[in-house]
């Protein structure tokens, strides 16, 4: 009797709020994973099993055919290559331009420094849809419609401010002494940046790189507007084409959808701490 009432007491005291927390997380994760699960099982179904009802949750004849069809019969492999090239090029350009800029803003006295930082953030206020008309007219004039170069350019422009912002958030917290010591030991300014600061700041710079890679990989509006053929179509445009195409079955669309999530899966599960630090940098504390 005594033991039982003690049990009830301890139940009353501690576990209820934790139990509620587990319940919330469980329901939330069910909503998160439901479409992934359904899309994945659809992507390994044969055409016949696709349209049998009620739905089979344990796929009877799993097949990789939808992946093969979508990659090689529908040019989705080419779309993935296009998207990869654009994303990598954007990350390289952002690093080349953004790291020096963020470093100078974090470590040096500059005229109009706060103005430069403020204008960097405020670029994020401009809706991408507001830029498609001027960008379209410009890309048309330089004759670059339907090229990867055009996509690289616009995505670079849109991601650079964010890249600088994340990198600046990391660099400004690094102690200045290490670099000063390196310069006293005879390092040039570039060597001090390259051999001392960049290695220490690499988690922050990695975070900035990963976030800009994902943003470019996931981008839709610019790719939809400036791409017309396989020469420059991206994964997102490919998916929206398939959804509107009555000749593409849902197992193929699902396979394409699963393929688009590969970078997200890698980054979320292998480099999660980088993403978390990148996104929260400068936004938790003033």
């Amino acid at each position: 009797m005594n033991g039982k009432s003690r049990l009830i007491k301890s139940w009353n005291r501690t576990d209820k709020s934790k139990l509620l927390a587990y319940f919330v997380i469980f329901v939330y994760l069910a909503f998160v994973l439901l479409p992934f699960f359904f899309t994945f099982i659809t992507s390994i179904k044969t055409n016949k099993e696709l349209t049998t009802t009620p739905i089979s949750y344990l796929v009877k004849n799993p097949t990789w055919k939808p992946y093969y069809s979508v990659l090689f019969e529908r040019a989705y492999g080419r779309y993935m290559l296009n998207t990869l090239i654009v994303s990598l090029a954007v990350v390289i350009l952002c690093t080349l331009f953004g790291v020096p800029a963020a470093y100078a803003l974090a470590k040096y006295r500059l005229p109009f420094k706060s103005g430069m930082l403020l204008s960097t953030i405020s670029v994020r206020l401009i809706p991408p849809i507001s830029l498609i008309v001027p960008f379209f007219l410009f890309i048309r004039i330089i004759n670059a419609l339907d090229t990867l170069q055009a996509l690289i350019m616009v995505n670079f422009l849109m991601n650079l401010p964010f890249f600088i912002w994340i990198a600046w958030g990391f660099l400004k917290d690094l102690p200045a002494e290490l670099e000063e010591a390196a310069m006293i030991d005879g390092c040039t300014r570039l060597q001090a940046l390259w051999k001392v600061t960049i290695p220490i700041a690499s988690p922050g710079l990695g975070a900035a790189a990963i976030v800009s890679f994902l943003f470019t990989w996931n981008e839709y509006l610019f790719a939809l507007t400036f791409s017309q053929s396989v020469a420059s179509k991206t994964i997102s445009v490919g998916i929206s084409d398939f959804v509107g195409d009555v000749f593409v079955r849902w197992n193929m669309i699902s396979a394409a959808g699963i393929l688009t999530t590969i970078p997200a899966l890698i980054f979320v599960f292998v480099f999660q701490s980088y993403i978390v630090e990148g996104l929260t940098a400068g936004s938790v504390k003033g």
Binding site: F38, I55, P127, P128, V133, S236, V243, T260
Partner: protein
């Protein structure tokens, strides 16, 4: 060579050399297209897309177009519904994750997935899950005995709008939860302990410790995500395409269609300017309401 040259510069000159390439590039995004946009919004375009100045004609045309007001209203309903959903659910998820000490990293990883995948893929997955005949949602509901007939989720205007809001919030919740969780972790535990000793209830602790300490992350998620929801195109485009009828057509679609269906770049630019003003107002409103200094 380059290294020697850099070392001869004064510190300010050196910093300018590093920062100027990016500032020039940023000026190209803010400056050139923005001036161009405002000029386009005051122009009309011929077949070869050559502009001629027409003053505020485009704005007059837009304000007298019923479809503009309809789509603007849709965009407000969409954004408002999404903000309410992602904020409440995101907050609940952040509080819950903060409470659980078990498997926090993988749980956080899974909950981040909707944010990390392409929005087009998210919309496509939900469109398929909501398929009337072969979708998992109807299948689970009918297996559970909750429905007798499959529901046509995306054929009814109001239902389609609700689902659009749901998918938008589904994508945004991870970012909201992540920032609020980081904010929660940064609150010193002693604050709660001393408040508990002083006899503060759970609600009082939430009201007087949690909320004030989360002011900064709350203002960030609200301003950024409201703005992002207001201007997103991908989700609507793939999930409903603006339909059934025009019932889920958003202002972004009005802009896109004016430009690339009607080739009316002047009108598209005018609505783009209006869109930018709204985005600016959202951010100013939140930051002012939460009294945050930049």
């Amino acid at each position: 060579m380059l290294s020697d040259w850099l070392d001869q510069l004064s510190p300010v000159q050196f910093a300018l050399v590093l920062v100027l390439p990016s500032i020039i590039v940023l000026f190209l995004i803010i400056g050139y297209p923005f001036v161009n946009l405002i000029y386009s919004s005051l122009s009309s375009y011929d077949m070869q897309l050559n502009p001629s100045f027409t003053g505020i004609d485009n704005y007059i045309q837009v304000f007298s177009d019923g479809a503009f007001w309809r789509d603007l209203a849709h965009s407000f309903i969409y954004t408002g519904g999404s903000v309410l959903t992602f904020f409440l659910v995101g907050f609940a998820v952040a509080l819950s994750l903060n409470k659980i000490n078990f498997l926090q990293t993988p749980l956080r990883g899974f909950s981040l997935l909707p944010w990390a995948i392409p929005p087009v893929t998210a919309a496509m997955m939900w469109r398929w899950a909501l398929n009337t005949q072969y979708g998992i949602v109807n299948d689970l509901l009918s297996r559970a005995g909750l429905i007798a007939q499959p529901i046509q989720w995306l054929s009814d205007g109001n239902l389609a709008m609700s689902l659009l809001i749901f998918v938008d919030a589904w994508i945004r919740i991870p970012f909201v939860a992540l920032l609020l969780l980081a904010g929660l972790k940064a609150i010193p535990g002693e604050l709660y302990e001393s408040a508990t000793v002083d006899g503060a209830s759970v609600l009082q602790r939430f009201r007087y410790i949690t909320l004030p300490n989360l002011r900064y992350p709350i203002s960030i998620v609200l301003s950024l995500q409201t703005m992002f929801a207001f201007r997103t195109y991908a989700i609507m485009s793939v999930l409903t395409g603006g339909g059934p009828g025009n019932s889920t057509e958003l202002l972004v679609k009005y802009i896109y269609d004016s430009a690339f269906q009607g080739y009316d770049f002047g009108v598209a630019s005018a609505v783009s300017v209006i869109m930018f003003i709204f985005c600016f107002l959202f951010v100013a409103m939140y930051w002012n309401a939460l009294r945050i200094e930049v």
